[in-house]
């Protein structure tokens, strides 16, 4: 089954979509697609069939999101913790993933037509090599498409993602690319696997569980959380509308909380820069206090140099990630 479902909404769905779109809409929705196995048990089919139907539902949901002008979707497809499941199930999921990424490459023209950029977030080194290669090819092939974005969290946990970001920043400090005083919330966010995406506005979890299960813990700090009891393969357009309505209902206090947090961050960064400048002047100054204008100049210079250091570091990080993917695609080509 295809990654991209063609098709428009029917009349009633279109009407509802237009009503919803009159209010504030989430730009980025994250899904914990829970319930495939319970669905399989309920329908008395093989567990693997539950996962296959789960994938089909993903394609359908992506279509609805596009119809609703939601241009970024992140999904929790496979957690690192899921490796603890039976070998049969894990192998089955790896095989399903492999087929889907191969299929994705076959559909590249269609993806280009719709401008769908696929990203895979997670520790790909934990996956079988052939799957890594297929993923790398798919990600590289759709890298420049920019009408909508599908982020698939695979071999992912949020803690693993944060630990990885910590290692990257520690590497940056060790290499002298950044100072430890450059480390900030903004910088950490840019070292996560999700660095190219804004934080999700709305997180939806299906199947009735009310927990985050180590998914996007950092990124969803100020997201609207919606928990629905429907099993993922049974998810409907109306379930999605219901979740969006809840987002709209909570929108104002959420937006206020986010704005406050952002302002707090900007102030904190400013104060941190001030403190660094004061420290520098104390150590390198000639003892005479500077006038206000000179202090302001020193602050501007410091901020500019910090931003340059950070950009260079992020550039080096991006280069590392791109090389990893390119190496995989070269290996795949040689194979």
């Amino acid at each position: 089954m295809s990654w991209i479902r063609e098709g428009e909404l029917n009349l009633i769905e279109k009407l509802s979509a237009n009503i919803l779109k009159a209010g504030p809409m989430p730009k980025h929705v994250a899904f914990i697609m829970d319930g495939n196995r319970r669905y399989a048990r309920k329908r008395q089919v093989e567990r693997q069939e539950g996962h296959t139907q789960g994938f089909d539902k993903l394609a359908e949901t992506l279509r609805w999101c596009l119809n609703l002008s939601i241009h970024e979707v992140t999904v929790y497809a496979f957690s690192i913790e899921n490796f603890k499941r039976s070998k049969d199930e894990v192998d089955g999921l790896m095989e399903l993933a492999k087929q889907k990424f191969i299929r994705l490459l076959e559909e590249q023209e269609n993806l280009e037509k719709h401008g769908v950029c696929i990203r895979v977030l997670g520790d790909l080194t934990l996956l079988p090599l052939d799957l890594q290669q297929h993923i790398a090819r798919a990600v590289v092939a759709t890298r420049t498409y920019n009408k909508c974005f599908l982020n698939v969290c695979f071999a992912y946990t949020s803690r693993h993602e944060i630990a990885n970001a910590v290692r990257e920043m520690a590497w940056g400090v060790e290499q002298g690319l950044i100072k430890s005083s450059d480390v900030s919330e903004a910088l950490l966010g840019q070292c996560l696997y999700s660095s190219n995406s804004p934080n999700p506005d709305l997180l939806i979890r299906t199947s009735g569980e009310v927990r985050l299960s180590d998914f996007l813990l950092w990124q969803t700090s100020h997201s609207c959380l919606v928990f629905q009891s429907v099993l993922w393969p049974e998810y409907s357009f109306w379930n999605l509308c219901d979740a969006i309505l809840q987002y709209q209902f909570n929108h104002r206090p959420l937006q206020k909380a986010r704005d406050q947090h952002r302002e707090g961050q900007a102030l904190q960064q400013y104060e941190a820069d001030l403190a660094c400048v004061a420290d520098l002047l104390q150590h390198h100054g000639n003892g005479k206090p500077l006038d206000a204008q000179r202090r302001q100049e020193a602050l501007l210079n410091y901020t500019a140099s910090r931003e340059e250091r950070v950009q260079n570091f992020l550039g080096a990080l991006q280069h590392k990630r791109d090389s990893f993917l390119t190496d995989l695609t070269s290996q795949a080509a040689l194979a």
């Binding site: 630990a163 910590v166 430890s180 997201s223 909570n250 947090h261 302002e263």
Partner: protein, 252 residues
């Protein structure tokens, strides 16, 4: 609410399956005050009464760790009068409740950027922490001047400096190293997070520590949150199947 109603819910609670670490986002003081036509500051005074009741109830039930989101990093930006009131309520509560903590064998702990608190609040807090440090029944942690992202950024700075000074190597940085450097390093992960007042978000509280916590959202405003509401949350928690990434069959 009568004592009978309270007892009725109590019998439904399975004391073998209590959340070991319960965390609460005590939201709704301001809204409560507005609904009643009071000043916000009175909402915080009223909220502190709920705090006292819930601490006692958690301790009586046998919960090992209770963490309360008392004051966030964002709260510093509130109007000065409100911030001063919150600090005053904090200091008075600490002074007043020390005997209760001692009687109930409760250990006081605090997490957050505590140096930002006014000196008298820091002093009072440290005094209570010192006097209760040998208590063992329940650890009560107040999150004060706390922001989870700030906590994690702080960990990054500490770890980066340790790497630079060859105290630890980059390869060893994993979940457990990060955990060791959090303010909560001596607390277990959160099992149940309750948020009052109907908001469905986490708002920068224990983001790392709640990875596998059950979440419970209630519309009840914090000053109205009573023992019965706590029991309902715990009963809901006890009905849930916690799988930590495994399947139902695997955890049986």
């Amino acid at each position: 609410m009568t004592k009978n109603q309270n007892s009725h819910l109590m019998y439904k609670i399975n004391t073998d399956n209590l959340p070991n670490h319960l965390a609460i986002i005590m939201d709704g003081n301001g809204r409560w005050a507005k609904q009643k036509g009071f000043l916000r500051t009175l909402g915080h005074e009223s909220g502190s009464k709920s705090v006292k009741k819930i601490i006692k109830e958690c301790s009586d039930l046998g919960i090992g760790f209770l963490t309360l989101y008392a004051f966030s990093t964002e709260n510093w930006n509130r109007p000065k009068l409100e911030v001063d009131t919150l600090m005053r309520v904090l200091i008075n509560s600490l002074k007043k409740e020390l005997p209760t903590l001692l009687e109930n064998n409760i250990k006081m702990n605090a997490i957050g950027n505590l140096e930002k608190l006014p000196k008298n609040a820091q002093k009072e807090l440290q005094d209570v922490i010192n006097k209760t440090k040998d208590n063992t029944k329940m650890t009560l942690t107040l999150a004060l001047s706390y922001g989870s992202r700030e906590e994690i950024v702080n960990v990054v700075k500490i770890i980066s400096d340790k790497v630079k000074n060859n105290i630890i190597s980059i390869d060893t940085i994993d979940d457990s190293i990060i955990n060791e450097h959090l303010y909560t390093h001596n607390l277990p992960d959160v099992d149940l997070l309750i948020r009052t007042s109907g908001e469905h978000r986490i708002s920068n509280f224990l983001l790392w520590q709640i990875a596998y916590a059950e979440l419970y959202f209630t519309d009840v405003l914090w000053p109205d949150f009573k023992q019965q509401d706590l029991h309902e949350a715990i009963i809901s928690y006890q009905k849930r199947e916690r799988r930590f990434g495994k399947t139902s069959e695997q955890i049986k």
